[in-house]
């Protein structure tokens, strides 16, 4: 059994009856290894479709949690259960509850730093005072507004006012939280969250491959949310200096927000400033200032120092990329997908109105980026299998388009592997309009292929 990763949260979905025998069969050694390698900042096991479990059944997953945490400092736990199941888990692991429990995935997402929705009004109650405080702190750190009920009566009374809260937290427990450098995307800026004492370990906790690919796909502003950093040592200083040098090659900017120099040597600040890193007191000072954002590169990715162009290696593999796209569309729509025209050029979108797009990067033996551009209604049609119902929710269509391009990426990876070319794929990115796509793609040369299914046209673009 494998976890499905969405918005940085990997979720296992076992179903039926979970005892010692069944759980061991559900999770092979390979499954556990694959989970450790996942690019997720939270791993959860959903109990929504589990009608019965016992301690032995949960133990297989708890062992996996331990293995995951041994290798990566991310949050792990169970989710999607009712009060009866919650009490049973608490009872099983009374003195040994070192994983988290979230009554729903919606609640879990509030504690994930990758979750894009911020400023949620959250009512919370836990009869353990230290849990109440821990939850409130985490929620606050993640940009939400926690409202803590001090007693069960107060909680029940507040809860009855349904419209007052976006999310109500009960029957939940915070185990050890993630310590990885979590990342989230805000507009065209990437925000990394760092905390406590920064030392040589930052090199392990920071996902450098993700960062490099973000540079490759056009991100130009990287903000380190450093409110919770207590101090840093020389190893961390060297790490950030190196990061700043590599960012300079792309004309990218690195900023620190909220870093206090009470316990960090003042001269470190000068060294980092010399390396090109900027310092701000408040996140709003950057994100709320459009002019500054533009200056720092977050509104446009056009100023790229070393523009990379599509090369022979990439063009030679173009058929694999097109085949992966065509077969994905055919799989999703049951229609024949046709290649209509192909050329090497800058991206050329004839009717940009109501178009949406998604992209996925790849890196390894070769690197680059696949972009798919659809009229919104055609995207809906292409994603019908995944959406399952008619929807006018653009956010949902974009989300599903990300899944579609993720499938294309998976197929590309497998087709290239057959040609003995090994690549990894990045997380997919979506663009709600053509302007946002052009910010990263307009000056890039690439291979453009016009494709269609059921006479509905869409565009494929492969670039570096």
């Amino acid at each position: 059994m494998r976890a499905v990763v969405k918005h940085g949260i990997g979720v296992f979905n076992p179903q039926g009856f979970l005892d010692g025998n069944s759980a061991t069969s559900l999770l092979s050694v390979e499954d556990i290894e694959a989970t450790v390698k996942l690019n997720a900042d939270m791993i959860l096991v959903s109990l929504k479709k589990v009608v019965f479990f016992n301690r032995n059944g949960l133990d297989a997953f708890v062992k996996m949690f331990a293995k995951v945490r041994e290798e990566k400092s991310i949050s792990v736990g169970f989710c999607d259960y009712d009060t009866k199941k919650f009490k049973a888990i608490q009872n099983f692991y009374k003195n040994d509850l070192n994983f988290s429990l979230f009554a729903s995935q919606e609640i879990a997402a509030l504690f994930s730093q990758s979750y894009s929705e911020k400023n949620q009004n959250v009512l919370l109650y836990n009869n353990d005072k230290s849990q109440r405080s821990a939850m409130a702190i985490e929620l606050h750190d993640n940009g939400h507004n926690p409202i803590i009920a001090q007693t069960e009566e107060e909680f029940e009374s507040k809860k009855s006012n349904e419209s007052a809260y976006d999310v109500v937290i009960e029957n939940s427990y915070l185990g050890q939280m993630g310590q990885n450098v979590a990342s989230r995307v805000t507009g065209n800026a990437i925000i990394y969250t760092i905390s406590s004492f920064l030392d040589a370990e930052i090199g392990n906790l920071f996902n450098i491959a993700y960062h490099n690919n973000s540079l490759n796909v056009g991100f130009r502003l990287f903000i380190f949310d450093a409110y919770k950093v207590i101090s840093m040592n020389i190893h961390a200083l060297n790490f950030f200096s190196r990061l700043a040098s590599s960012a300079a090659e792309y004309n990218a900017t690195i900023c620190f927000v909220g870093l206090s120099f009470e316990k960090t040597p003042k001269e470190f600040k000068e060294t980092l400033e010399d390396a090109g890193i900027m310092f701000f007191d408040q996140m709003e000072n950057i994100l709320g200032d459009k002019e500054l954002l533009e200056e720092l590169g977050a509104s446009s990715a056009a100023v790229i120092k070393n523009k990379r162009t599509i090369n022979k290696v990439t063009v030679a593999e173009l058929p694999s990329f097109v085949d992966a796209t065509v077969s994905t569309i055919e799989m999703m729509t049951n229609s024949k997908a046709l290649k209509e025209a192909a050329e090497i050029s800058s991206i050329n979108i004839k009717n940009p109105a109501n178009m949406i797009a998604s992209s996925i990067g790849f890196y390894g033996d070769m690197d680059g980026m696949v972009i798919l551009v659809f009229p919104e209604d055609i995207a809906k049609k292409a994603c019908q299998l995944l959406i399952g119902e008619n929807t006018d929710d653009t956010e949902q269509v974009l989300d599903t388009l990300a899944e579609l391009v993720n499938i294309v990426g998976g197929k590309v990876k497998s087709l290239l592997h057959d040609h003995k070319v090994n690549v990894n794929i990045t997380l997919p990115r979506t663009y709600p309009n053509i302007e946002s796509l052009l910010e990263i793609a307009q000056d890039r040369k690439g291979a453009q292929v016009d494709l269609s299914f059921d006479n509905d046209k869409f565009l494929f673009f492969l670039t570096r």
Binding site: N13, V51, N54, L385, G410, S414
Partner: protein, 265 residues
């Protein structure tokens, strides 16, 4: 990936029930076990299947049972009928399973386990009805249909399921507007199985509750039973556990009763 044409071609290829089986069932229906056994003896494959299935440890007979008349006598009319239907279904099952990690023997184990537990449930519910007892035999048809339709698309399905937690039934419904159980119903119609069988199995899919209270209740029990059996290591390793979506809410009101009956602690 899967088209309506492919589904139609699959339905088209379902062979009619062999004459010997039709005759065996006819005699079983009228309670004439001896005549039914005489006909069944002429079909060597059926004879071999009946011997193998009845001598499985799960049936708990101390001595080997080898004569068909003896087998029918021990099983009684309704269980004999059920076993013949189970055999009919094996005529559709592949020699080599590709999508699911099953063998012919494991599939027989699944049939036997479902049949015995279903009988236990019907006894508990005080239901004595040959057609209802035989209903469980059609459920595994959905597994055979999934194998036949998806086996060449395993890689596609794996990639699809790596980004979205979809079961085979949902994929098929979204692509073609019919599900595994609609196709199973077509099999039942082609083999002239009583309508009740298909109705119960449709309800047991968990996604199409029946308007008929009795059929709906039986559908719930069957849905839960299927997941009880598919949660056993053998069938989890065969990747059968998530071939359809388990509808926990659908079975919630009978769960305690079920757990008591199956002695789940």
């Amino acid at each position: 990936m899967i088209t309506k044409e492919k589904i139609n071609a699959f339905i088209e290829k379902i062979p009619p029930a062999p004459k010997a089986l039709q005759a065996t069932l006819m005699f079983l229906n009228s309670g004439e076990l001896v005549k039914a056994a005489q006909i069944a003896e002429t079909d060597l494959a059926l004879k071999s299947y009946l011997k193998n299935i009845v001598n499985k440890p799960i049936y708990g007979f101390r001595n080997e049972v080898s004569e068909i008349s003896q087998i029918f006598g021990i099983l009684g009319v309704s269980s004999s009928q059920q076993t013949v239907y189970n055999y009919m279904l094996t005529l559709l099952s592949p020699k080599k399973w590709e999508l699911f990690h099953l063998t012919e023997l494991h599939f027989h184990d699944l049939q036997a386990e479902l049949s015995l537990e279903w009988k236990k449930i019907l006894n508990h519910l005080n239901i004595e009805n040959d057609d209802i007892e035989s209903a469980i035999t059609l459920f595994p048809a959905s597994i055979i249909v999934a194998e036949a339709l998806f086996k060449e698309k395993k890689n596609d399905v794996d990639i699809l399921r790596s980004v979205n937690n979809l079961d085979f039934n949902t994929i098929l419904t979204r692509l073609c507007g019919v599900d595994l159980f609609d196709i199973s119903e077509k099999i039942a119609q082609k083999w002239e199985m009583p309508d009740t069988i298909a109705q119960i199995v449709q309800a047991a899919s968990g996604s199409k509750p029946s308007q008929n209270d009795q059929i709906n209740t039986l559908g719930k029990w069957m849905h839960l039973l299927v997941f009880f059996v598919l949660s056993k290591p053998l069938f989890i390793e065969a990747e059968l556990n998530d071939f359809i979506e388990f509808q926990v809410e659908y079975v919630q009101d009978i769960y305690d009763d079920f757990a008591k009956l199956m002695e789940i602690q």
